[in-house]
């Protein structure tokens, strides 16, 4: 399965702005703690949408609902034409192949080398891929992030920034159409953070992905966002371009820029 092939299969007459991901009236509560309440968002093809929100506002919960790690209480989530909440186990696996997820804590497998970490999603999802193809893909992704020399190292031997890049390489390894980034630059120094933001934009151009980026690092937001959504009280409080949001007079939006 190649991304380019999949796009080519689509009818040419399709309108330019197709929503690849659509969330409607999403609600998620843990006991009495209502995290998301009537949240709506659409992401279009080749677009980066940044979700801004304070710590604990439910940003991670939102993208975990999208990929089916958490079950929302109400609402609908449509990804690449599939209703995620109605999918059975195999259907969910199938849609997960087309979505990349960069975890907030990288989630690299400690007991595996960098190579094995990158091979893991391929070996699991694409059982009939042969060894040469697997190796080639691993090398391609590692060179994308400039870390080919770490291929036989353990994640614990790498710095935080390097781990983040390896995690990004693993996220990209199945050439997903949609990528969900959970705070990609949090915990990194400003220089490394900028490198990661640049890398994200490069990869987006190279592989033509659409993404949701969760962040409260304004440099990263500025570098990557086509649109910004401000998540307040479980709702999409404001949506607009970076410039729009930057100039917003709303107190609850302004606080992110102080």
């Amino acid at each position: 399965m190649d991304t380019a092939d999949r796009i080519a299969e689509k009818p040419v007459s399709e309108p330019q702005r197709t929503a690849v991901l659509e969330i409607k009236q999403l609600k998620k509560a843990f006991g009495s703690n209502v995290v998301l309440d009537d949240f709506n968002l659409a992401v279009y093809r080749d677009e980066n949408v940044v979700v801004l929100g304070r710590s604990g506002s439910g940003k991670s919960v939102l993208i975990k609902c999208i990929i089916g790690l958490l079950k929302p209480d109400l609402g609908s989530i449509n990804v690449l034409g599939e209703d995620v909440l109605a999918l059975d186990h195999d259907g969910l696996d199938h849609i997960r192949m087309r979505i990349g997820f960069l975890f907030q804590s990288n989630a690299l497998y400690d007991s595996m080398t960098v190579r094995e970490n990158l091979e893991f999603p391929m070996r699991r999802h694409l059982k009939n891929m042969n060894t040469d193809e697997v190796n080639e893909r691993v090398n391609e992704m590692l060179s994308n992030v400039g870390l080919l020399h770490t291929i036989d190292m353990m994640p614990s031997e790498l710095s935080g920034g390097m781990q983040k890049r390896i995690a990004l390489a693993r996220t990209l390894i199945l050439k997903p159409e949609i990528i969900l980034y959970d705070e990609p630059t949090t915990g990194l120094d400003p220089v490394t953070g900028r490198e990661i933001s640049t890398l994200m934009v490069e990869m987006q151009e190279k592989y033509k992905t659409s993404s949701i980026i969760i962040s409260h690092d304004m440099k990263c937001v500025k570098a990557t966002a086509d649109r910004v959504v401000v998540l307040v009280d479980g709702k999409a409080h404001a949506i607009g371009s970076y410039a729009d949001i930057r100039q917003s007079a709303d107190e609850r939006v302004k606080q992110f820029f102080e």
Binding site: K64, L69, M97, S105, A107, Y109, D110, S111, H125
Partner: protein, 257 residues
């Protein structure tokens, strides 16, 4: 009164959760896909990691037990029965229980910590989105490995313990190894060995399932991981004694004592 009620509540909800977790094991372990490679890797890691410690403790256990028993037997004038006493105690009770407790300390805590840190660093979530059932890949393989490895380790520990007993006899007396082995084999019968071996499977299962349960449901943060490892050891050690108690009742009722 309030505090007590809360404790009872957590006790019951925890028991319920562990039962559910265990039920999940029986639900999952028969269905494909089978993570056979990971299972073998876990057997190797679990067996190999605890081997030196278990051999050492087994040896000391046999030696010390013999030296402690000798004065009593001497005072009754039945010193010659020392090999019988030592081998029966080791094979029926002390070998399985001590080995299981060491195993719980070593393996139960490491499973709890490993899965706990995988949980808090989202590695378990990452597996799930990579088309892998993490319960199967992580839990089922480890529980099988502990269930099958502990009996093997116990047999080994028994053997080393018996050798320790032989050395213990020869500190104050003289007995050839041939004679010692003969005495042991004449004393120990199948009804000693079988229940003792069967219970080690249950001990191994308990250590595996509790370690996995605690790790898999670890709370966020590094202290959550530490707590998982710690409570895995405490709870599985307690369970080992409870299982031991149940098994002794059953063998007693069956007239195997």
């Amino acid at each position: 009164m309030q505090g007590k009620e809360v404790k009872w509540k957590t006790f019951f909800s925890e028991t319920g959760a562990i039962s559910q977790f265990t039920g999940w094991f029986f639900h999952e372990f028969l269905r494909p896909r089978y993570e056979f490679r990971e299972f073998l890797r876990q057997c190797f890691v679990i067996g190999y990691k605890s081997l030196p410690l278990i051999a050492l403790t087994g040896f000391i256990m046999g030696l010390v037990l013999t030296m402690q028993l000798r004065p009593t037997l001497v005072s009754y004038g039945v010193e010659a029965r020392l090999p019988d006493m030592v081998s029966l105690s080791i094979i029926r009770e002390i070998g399985p229980v001590i080995t299981a407790l060491i195993f719980a300390g070593k393996i139960g805590s490491s499973i709890g910590a490993e899965l706990g840190s995988m949980r808090v660093t989202e590695q378990i979530d990452a597996m799930e989105v990579s088309g892998t059932n993490p319960y199967k890949f992580l839990v089922v393989t480890r529980v099988w490995a502990t269930t099958l490895m502990l009996p093997v380790l116990t047999i080994l520990s028994d053997a080393v313990g018996l050798y320790g007993g032989y050395l213990g006899i020869n500190i104050r007396g003289v007995m050839s190894l041939d004679l010692y082995i003969n005495e042991v084999l004449n004393t120990v019968v199948f009804s000693d060995v079988i229940p003792a071996t069967i219970k080690t499977f249950f001990f191994g299962f308990a250590v595996g399932i509790i370690g996995c349960y605690k790790g898999y449901n670890s709370k966020k943060g590094t202290e959550g991981v530490g707590r998982s490892a710690n409570s895995a050891v405490v709870l599985s050690s307690l369970l080992i004694f409870i299982i031991d108690l149940i098994v002794v009742q059953i063998t007693d009722l069956m007239g195997l004592n």
